[in-house]
Symmetry: C2
């Protein structure tokens, strides 16, 4: 094959404050959340998913959504978004002054029933209401497409099924979609198959990839997605986050670490606005604050600079 | 891009007994080594690097090379090979009845000087002697090309430099070469650049990739290598192995876990002769015997079967 043909730049979306904290074994105090978001705002990531406007009883860890959004120091180059599961959440999000919302749609019926308590029709109806509520406010709407590849109850999800959901949300008027490897089970083959079918059918779609790393293939998936022309990725500092139905050893550390994603992107010559050293420092700080250990290759020292330093060379 | 175009099958070379044990913090008794090799022989891997014929003082953990090779139960479908650093090691390897040898050549001058105590000319001269000694014996000679991408002292190694070493070893008459990501710092871009240049220059070369995962990109590197047409990979069960100059957190667990590699290969539709369930069981056994914990995504439970089982579904 000819040398790797990849986009020149990619967008990085930081998921830690929402995906990383929602299932943590404890409530992180509001002022600590604000401090983490503010530190993330200085790394050069394009977008931060700050919180979720799920019902506080459903996601108690993020019951302080309004307070966090009110207290953060907004960086002019960062888009601050929140997850909204329904129109009630959307009204709260609009009142809290988000720049953008992530309206979650789940492909798998069983996963959606257990987690959202909705049928597909109800889920799509909520997306349509969210789009209606956003109209005229300047707030962007993206749809995260949960279980785009694999469901922990139904197994593999076919590209046709996921694309039919993508079509419905595009018809509903969302601005962009993000295919989610919710269980971290997607292979590079799955990514190539779904993305090539999707770009065939919707050539101008603005599509991102929400990365989980349960099977260890997420950076390979990112490279294949880049080769397909996709250039927007969701990741979470320290890899925090991930599905609650996962095996114990994988629970809580399931997203792709943002620092490993950025190390890959820069390593293959895809630019991001991210200052890698600053991101690494923030990851180290988050890792210590939350006591998650060295949960990424970068934090374990897997960078050229660290290897040169460890061997006694001046990097 | 069109859906992933990959070779139909790939060869898996198991490095655990040599690369995984040589730097372990203790000597694994000979009978345990034999048991591990015998169990690995039943997984369906094509080739096993059983030991090293380095000087016993240099690699005391493998000082029982002859005893291990004499005691293992040889499976007719497996190629049993050993590392040989020089002609003295080659004579020992031939006497011990190996099927194949791995004659190590190092591209980086500083790394070679510190680890092999040889100049490039001396190193290549040893390879030529090894090839001469193999002539007429039926023993195959492959050359592992150490630091093909990155040196912990010199930093990035240019493709031109590595290709010049490849050319020299091919001229010396070796049967196949294996590019080694010795420090685990290669990016998919590095792999694509070196492999496309190599296949341009040596279209019929039999080339493999020795995978280390220090930067977390090794499975991405494997996919890109497959896209370039490479279809032979070295990996080590549980990820055991790796350079001794690495940062502490990465020391000892630096190779790509064979079970993660095979999970990837099968996941993208590249067949191997490996029985995945058996490989997973051997990896679990090795992990317990050597006390290395769940050091691969497969051992952490990152397979579709485990995720389905964890969610209460019958896989």
């Amino acid at each position: 094959m000819p040398p790797l043909s990849l986009p020149e730049s990619a967008t990085v979306v930081e998921m830690l404050p929402r995906d990383g904290l929602q299932n943590l074994d404890r409530f992180v105090p509001t002022d600590e959340k604000v401090e983490v978001v503010d530190r993330l705002s200085t790394t050069g990531v394009d977008e931060i998913e700050v919180t979720s406007f799920a019902h506080p009883a459903a996601v108690p860890n993020l019951r302080d959504a309004e307070d966090v959004l009110a207290a953060i120091d907004r960086h002019p180059d960062v888009t601050y978004r929140a997850l909204v599961p329904n129109d009630v959440g959307m009204e709260r999000a609009l009142a809290a002054g988000v720049d953008k919302v992530n309206a979650l749609v789940v492909v798998s019926d069983e996963y959606r029933r257990k987690n959202q308590g909705m049928t597909l029709t109800e889920n799509l109806d909520q997306v349509a209401r969210i789009v209606d509520l956003a109209a005229g406010t300047g707030v962007e709407v993206e749809a995260g497409i949960g279980t785009s590849f694999f469901c922990p109850y139904e197994g593999r999800i076919s590209p046709e099924r996921t694309l039919s959901v993508v079509e419905s949300v595009l018809d509903a008027g969302v601005d962009e979609v993000t295919l989610a490897t919710t269980m971290g089970m997607a292979t590079p083959r799955d990514v190539a198959d779904l993305l090539s079918a999707m770009y065939d059918r919707f050539p101008s779609v603005d599509c991102g990839l929400h990365l989980h790393d349960t099977n260890g293939m997420s950076l390979a998936n990112a490279v294949v997605a880049l080769q397909c022309g996709l250039a927007r990725f969701d990741a979470s500092v320290c890899g925090l986050g991930g599905g609650t139905v996962l095996p114990d050893a994988l629970r809580g550390v399931g997203n792709t670490p943002t620092e490993d994603l950025v190390s890959l992107l820069h390593g293959v010559g895809v630019s991001t606005g991210v200052d890698f050293d600053r991101l690494e420092a923030v990851a180290r700080d988050v890792s210590e604050r939350l006591g998650v250990g060295a949960s990424s290759h970068v934090l374990m020292g897997g960078t050229p600079e660290n290897v040169l330093a460890a061997s006694g060379e001046d990097p």
